[in-house]
Symmetry: C2
Subunit: 201 residues, 2 copies
């Protein structure tokens, strides 16, 4: 059956969203046209505005509408404490925890030579020059605990060490509220090797 | 953490899509901004175009860019055979089966008094006037086999009967490729009560 061309075009365009296949795209299109034309108009507007306004922070590479993002520009933030993460979503997660008052550096990915992503593509040259500026007290590595994330962390640790910067890594272990029985073997291995001594009372 | 306002607005706007919660909306926003700005621009354009151009067919209420949709306007279609369905997605599914050459009437919903959806809202007045035009040989009811769908079908059948139009209903039973063992009880009950006699050889 030939659908009306602008419906076909919308179904096709919705498939650029992650996790949306042909069936979901069709359902989204029909729902928008049938019941939420106002929402669809708002979405079109929000997409255009975001594309126009959102760029990268000159300091930390995170998304922002300003030349330097709000976190980097915040005088109450400890500029000597730098947390390196892979994506803006990781920044949000850490901010959400409410327990970090330093600044970030967002790689926007991880080293992946097979996909042509080397140190240059994830901003490691800029990061290295930050190390050499000499005003960093500590660099916290918070890349994902995957092979690529660990490799990236190792590479950055080498750079930081050669610049004489203190390096740390966030703890990996059994999540709070998690049960040992249902924790995977690798996480348990990390939890064991990262055990801390209990102070005597 | 305060996100940049146009990113917040985009996350919020994406939630008008069915099946998209706050986490998916955030992931979609970051992916679009990070890796698919071109796709996002196309999506904004496709939404605007579809909203401008897509309206309802004057005959069958289905989505179309024309006053009368391609199916209703097709001279090779049997205009005396009318299939009543709930949504445009049902039209697509039946068209996809390739075994129907009549026309459609799209209710865009089903009777649901609790949500304020009465006969007027799903076009039953227009449908009744089609019945009384007198050029219909058969009306096939293909609403969903849910309580609301069945109620709607019953209501339409009453209307058609009073206008003297032949009514039929699509068969419900064990789907092809389905196994009896894994077919639910209601479907099996339908399959049994709708059994057909096997011709003697």
């Amino acid at each position: 059956m030939k659908l009306s061309p602008s419906i076909e075009a919308l179904i096709e365009a919705l498939r650029c969203l992650p996790g949306v296949g042909p069936k979901s795209a069709q359902r989204m299109t029909l729902t928008l046209l049938e019941r939420d034309r106002e929402g669809a108009a708002l979405l079109a507007q929000a997409l255009t505005t975001a594309l126009e306004r959102v760029g990268r922070c000159q300091r930390c590479r995170n998304f922002t509408e300003l030349p330097v993002c709000e976190i980097c520009a915040d005088p109450r933030r400890d500029q000597a404490l730098l947390c390196v993460v892979e994506t803006p979503a990781d920044v949000m997660a850490i901010e959400h925890s409410g327990s970090y008052r330093g600044v970030f550096f967002v790689l926007m990915g991880h080293l992946s030579p097979i996909d042509g992503i080397g140190p240059e593509e994830i901003g490691l040259t800029e990061l290295a020059s930050r190390f050499h500026e000499g005003d960093l007290a500590e660099v916290i590595l918070a890349t994902n605990p995957t092979v690529e994330g660990e490799t990236t962390a190792y590479y950055i640790a080498q750079q930081a060490r050669s610049a004489g910067v203190t390096i740390s890594k966030i703890a990996h272990g059994v999540p709070l509220g998690g049960e040992l029985e249902f924790t995977d073997a690798t996480t348990l291995a990390h939890a064991l090797s990262g055990r801390t001594r209990v102070a005597e009372q």
